[in-house]
C-alpha cells in the first residue's frame, strides 16, 4: 500500500470536477425538466380546456357540428360519439404520449397531449 495524497485541491481535481459538471449539464440537456404529468389540451373554436390524463371521465366538447365526448381513462384520451360524418377522430385515439393529437377537422376540435416532443412537426 502506498497511500499519501497531494494536499489541497489540485489542478487535476479541478479537471475531474469539470468533467462531472459537464456530464451533469449534458444529462440535464438530454432529459429536460421533469415531466409535470400528462395533460390533455382540448381546443375548440371558442374555448380551450386542460384535462389531466389521470382524471378519468367523459367530457362533453362542442363544435359547429354538435357535441362530441372526450373520454379519459387508463391514462389516455379518445374521442367518442363524434357528430362528424367520417368519424376519423374516433379512430385516432387513445392518445397517451406528449405531442399525440386527436383532430376532428369537420367539428373543429383538437386534443393534444402537452409536453416535450422529439420532433418540431409531423408531416401527414
Amino acid at each position: 500500500m502506498t497511500p499519501g495524497f497531494r494536499k489541497g485541491p489540485t489542478l487535476w481535481d479541478g479537471v475531474l470536477i469539470t468533467v462531472f459538471i459537464v456530464l451533469t449539464i449534458s444529462v440535464a440537456m438530454m432529459m429536460g425538466s421533469p415531466d409535470p404529468g400528462s395533460v390533455l389540451e382540448v381546443k375548440t373554436l371558442t374555448e380551450e380546456v386542460r384535462i389531466p390524463l389521470d382524471r378519468d371521465g367523459r367530457y362533453a366538447v362542442s363544435g359547429p357540428l354538435g357535441t362530441a365526448f372526450v373520454v379519459v381513462e387508463d391514462g389516455g384520451a379518445r374521442m367518442e360519439s363524434a357528430p362528424c360524418p367520417l368519424k376519423i377522430c374516433e379512430t385516432m385515439g387513445p392518445v397517451t404520449k406528449s405531442g399525440q393529437t386527436i383532430l376532428c377537422l369537420p367539428n373543429r376540435i383538437s386534443a393534444r397531449v402537452l409536453g416535450k416532443v422529439p420532433v418540431d412537426a409531423v408531416s401527414r
Partner: protein
C-alpha cells in the same frame, strides 16, 4: 493489516463511518434523496492512512452494519446502498490509481458522483423500470459534487490533525511511515 494498532484504528474508522451514516439517517432530510455521505469521510481517511484495502474495509463495514442494524439485507434501501458503496469505491480507487495527481477532494467528488450514478442506475433498472429517474441526475449530481468537496475538505482536515496528533514534531512525513 496485521498490526494491532492499525487494526484498532481501522475498527474505529468503521465505527465512526457507521455512526456518521446513522446520524445522517436520523436527522431530518432538508431535501428528499439528498445525502451528505458523511460516512465517506472515514473511507477517505482510511485511504490516506492505510491505502486502498483499508478503504474497502471501511466502506464495506459501514454498508454491512447499516444494512444489519437499520434495515433488511435485501431491502431496496440496502441494495441501493451497497450498489452506491461499491460504485463509489471503484471510482475512488480508479482515481487514486491514476497516479497521485488527485487530492482527497477529487477522490471524494468521484466517489460521491459514482454513488449517485450507481443508485439511480440500479433503482431505474431494478425497481422503477423506466429512465425517468435520470431526470433527477442533474440535481443529485450537482449536489454530489458539492457534498463531495465538503467531505473531501473535512477528511483533509481530519488527516492533517491525525498526522500532527499521532506524531508530534514530525509534521509532513508520510502517514504510512507510522509504526503501529
Amino acid at each position: 493489516m496485521r498490526s494491532p494498532g492499525k487494526l484498532a484504528t481501522l475498527s474505529m474508522l468503521i465505527c465512526s463511518a457507521f455512526a456518521l451514516a446513522s446520524l445522517e439517517r436520523l436527522i431530518p432530510n432538508p431535501v428528499p434523496m439528498v445525502r451528505f455521505g458523511l460516512g465517506n469521510i472515514m473511507t477517505l481517511t482510511a485511504f490516506a492512512f492505510f491505502g486502498v484495502e483499508a478503504g474497502i474495509w471501511v466502506t464495506g463495514g459501514r454498508v454491512a452494519l447499516v444494512a444489519l442494524i437499520w434495515g433488511g439485507i435485501l431491502s431496496p434501501t440496502a441494495v441501493l446502498s451497497m450498489a452506491g458503496g461499491a460504485a463509489s469505491l471503484v471510482a475512488m480507487i480508479a482515481v487514486m490509481k491514476l497516479g497521485g495527481r488527485f487530492s482527497l477532494f477529487g477522490i471524494s467528488v468521484a466517489g460521491a458522483y459514482a454513488h449517485v450514478l450507481a443508485q439511480i442506475t440500479v433503482a431505474s433498472t431494478l425497481y422503477v423500470r423506466s429512465l425517468d429517474l435520470f431526470r433527477i441526475l442533474p440535481f443529485l449530481g450537482a449536489t454530489a459534487i458539492l457534498t463531495g468537496l465538503l467531505n473531501g475538505a473535512v477528511a483533509q482536515i481530519l488527516v492533517s490533525k491525525m498526522e500532527t496528533r499521532l506524531k508530534p514534531g514530525k509534521r509532513g512525513r508520510e502517514p504510512s511511515d507510522f509504526a503501529f
